[in-house]
């Protein structure tokens, strides 16, 4: 295209100015010149749009700038993740709460949808007719109903099917289920808890070391040490030991029915639950198809060859099929993760205080639409790029290593 334009420009130039045409036809010049022109055009356009916006805002005396972020927000947020928030805190802090709420639902959704998607995807290939058909029905239903409707469905189901707070279902003592969500007992905060967390991290590190040792051991001796039991033992045992050493505190913060709702313990709100269920089941439908196509894409000969050397069906799946299928599965799955994260912004429809919900409220109270929208876009862009970055790293990690 650029070449054609260049040629035309050269043709139309009058004979005495042939040198200019020749200059334009020089591939080295062309390679740089047109890029500079395009870039300059983009910069001019952006500059024009920004200055026009600023002029318009000025003319109508609409306040601009990010100074409002340190002002008192004045509104409450229904649920918070990790950080405490009061109405007297700033808009900036409100944004942080919204962002963390988004991250919480997105991360949980990614983990759960991957698990469910993998199970359903493999189930579609099952030789059991019923399981395969059920998995197909799941995929078709989930993929073909708009997510917003699914969210309304889950939220409606929770609001209508569950009893009101006063008649809450006691699932097990200390765990109550009602229209106000799931309220459950948690251990009363104790100084030993952070140490238990540390012990758990140490156990994970120990598992990694043990796993590497096991691999080496197997390579040297041909015998595979048991992996599951020692790992589980470390993961549960280490924190338990710390807990015992800390005097085994057993005091629980049990929810009790106050005038209107259960107070104490921790709760999962219906809004969060509906959003998580909707996002998870919807995205799992897509991931299932990706997993299935990834497995089918590995040549049948691989399976036959693996069986021929005497590997069991599980080992065929684990050692031959999945490592090759993963290379096909990971890139499209990355975009599903991105979709899930972005789709979480539908939370506003069902009252979950995610980034967009908090951002919209702020936008309305301050009237600074451009700033608020920019913040939201920057947040989603950062989250999405982080996910992409991680998944690309993982993709490289599992890619075929050519020798």
């Amino acid at each position: 295209m650029a070449e054609q334009v260049a040629r035309k420009a050269g043709d139309s130039a009058a004979p005495p100015r042939r040198e200019a045409g020749a200059f334009l036809r020089d591939p080295r010049v062309r390679a740089v010149l047109y890029q500079i022109l395009v870039l300059g055009g983009v910069i001019l356009l952006v500059a024009y749009l920004v200055s026009n916006t600023m002029d318009n805002l000025e003319e109508r005396s609409i306040r601009t700038g990010f100074g409002f972020l340190s002002n008192e927000a004045g509104f409450y947020i229904g649920e918070t993740t990790f950080v405490a928030y009061e109405a007297s805190d700033s808009y900036g802090q409100a944004f942080v709460v919204g962002l963390l709420n988004t991250l919480r639902v997105a991360l949980l959704g990614i983990v759960l949808s991957t698990i469910i998607g993998a199970i359903v995807g493999i189930a579609r290939l099952s030789s059991n007719w019923l399981i395969a058909k059920l998995a197909s029905v799941y995929v078709e239903v989930m993929r073909n109903i708009p997510l917003l409707l699914q969210l309304f469905f889950w939220y409606g189901a929770i609001s209508f099917l569950l009893p009101s707070v006063r008649d809450a279902i006691t699932v097990i003592p200390g765990v109550f289920l009602s229209k106000s969500g799931l309220q459950y007992a948690v251990p009363v905060s104790h100084p030993i808890h952070p140490w238990m967390g540390l012990a758990f991290l140490a156990a994970i590190a120990a598992c990694v070391v043990y796993y590497k040792w096991a691999k080496r051991h197997q390579a040297e001796t041909g015998r595979e040490p048991n992996l599951l039991l020692p790992s589980l033992g470390m993961l549960i045992g280490l924190p338990a030991l710390v807990w015992l050493a800390g005097g085994a505190p057993t005091q629980m913060d049990v929810p009790e029915l106050a005038t209107f709702r259960y107070v104490g313990g921790t709760s999962v709100t219906p809004e969060f639950l509906a959003l998580l269920l909707g996002l998870t089941f919807y995205t799992a439908g897509f991931i299932a198809e990706i997993v299935r196509s990834g497995i089918v894409a590995v040549a049948w000969g691989q399976t036959e060859a693996a069986s021929a050397i005497g590997l069991s069906r599980t080992l065929v799946l684990r050692l031959v099929l999945l490592p090759q299928a993963l290379r096909i599965i990971v890139p499209p799955t990355t975009s599903q993760y991105l979709n899930l994260t972005k789709n979480s912004s539908l939370a506003v429809a069902i009252g979950y205080p995610d980034l967009v919900s908090v951002g919209n409220t702020t936008l309305n109270q301050t009237g600074q639409a451009i700033e608020c929208i920019s913040i939201m876009m920057a947040c989603y862009l950062t989250i999405s790029l982080s996910i992409s970055f991680f998944m690309n790293w993982y993709n490289k990690h599992i890619a075929l290593v050519e020798r």
Partner: protein, 342 residues
Amino acid sequence: MRRTKWFAAATVAAFVGAAGVAQAGDTFDSVMERGTVRCGVNTGLAGFSIADDQGNWTGLDVDYCRAVAAAVVGDSDKVEFVPLSAQQRFTALQSGEVDVLSRNTTWTLTRDVSLGIHFAGINFYDGQGFMVPADLGVDSAKQLDGAEVCVQTGTTTELNLADYFRAQNMSFKPVVFEGFEESLSAFFAGRCQVYTTDKSGLAAIKSVDAPNPDDYKILPETISKEPLGPSVRRGDDAWFAIAKWVLIALVQAEESGITSDNIDDMKANSDNPMVKRVLGASGDMGEKLGLDPEWAYRAIKQMGNYGEMYDRNVGMESPLGLDRGLNAQWTDGGLMYAPPIR
């Protein structure tokens, strides 16, 4: 990187593109050219702005828009109603999508000063209240400590709610919805024990939206002042004056006893100088506004005076059945007080 840049450019363009539509001072011209007034209204609030199954809009806020259209264009039907959510309303006005915003909007300092809009007056004095299920056993807002409250986002309601509970040293848990319908259906489904909005809104919800009005009650406390009124874009003083004085003329008409029924008689026979000035029989009030002499005559003739609008939409003749209260004429002990039309 390139993608990021385009994204930013596209976003800015979206804002500016909209903002470029209107320029200062030309709202009147563009209304005359178009032949209609574009009016931002609520998506559906009985008594204020609601569309029936044939798409006919009714309500106090809607009638104000029709009165403006009657005064400016000459016909109260020459209105394009643009239903707006609480969130969209200011952006729609700022960007020129609507000429007037008449959407039960509370006049506050922040909105008046930093949103690029002007409030043209007050057409309804309201206050925020609480609605609870009758069987909750609550008689006062002071008993609401710890309750879950359903509320619509982007409103002063959300802020008043926080202020009230902070002042009373009580706690609550907000469940915030973007949509009015969603917030209501969550409340009726029992997700929250309390619903809060302006008291006129509560009356509308109780009488029109509730499955059974007797199952709900409105608590006596009024926790805020909510002066609701129409607003226009900044930077167009001529249009601002028209929006302001149409509202004043409607209120003055009630005070002077001019109704849609007796208006022709009054115009022909009244010797009252105020009545003559309002109806264009003397003076040059219309000319000063850049309109013809019969601007107020048409508005009152076609839509009735403020009192008629009130009774028809939210007053005793309507399902809401609100008494005049603060919205009575100042001569009757209310707050409706029209500056002199002279």
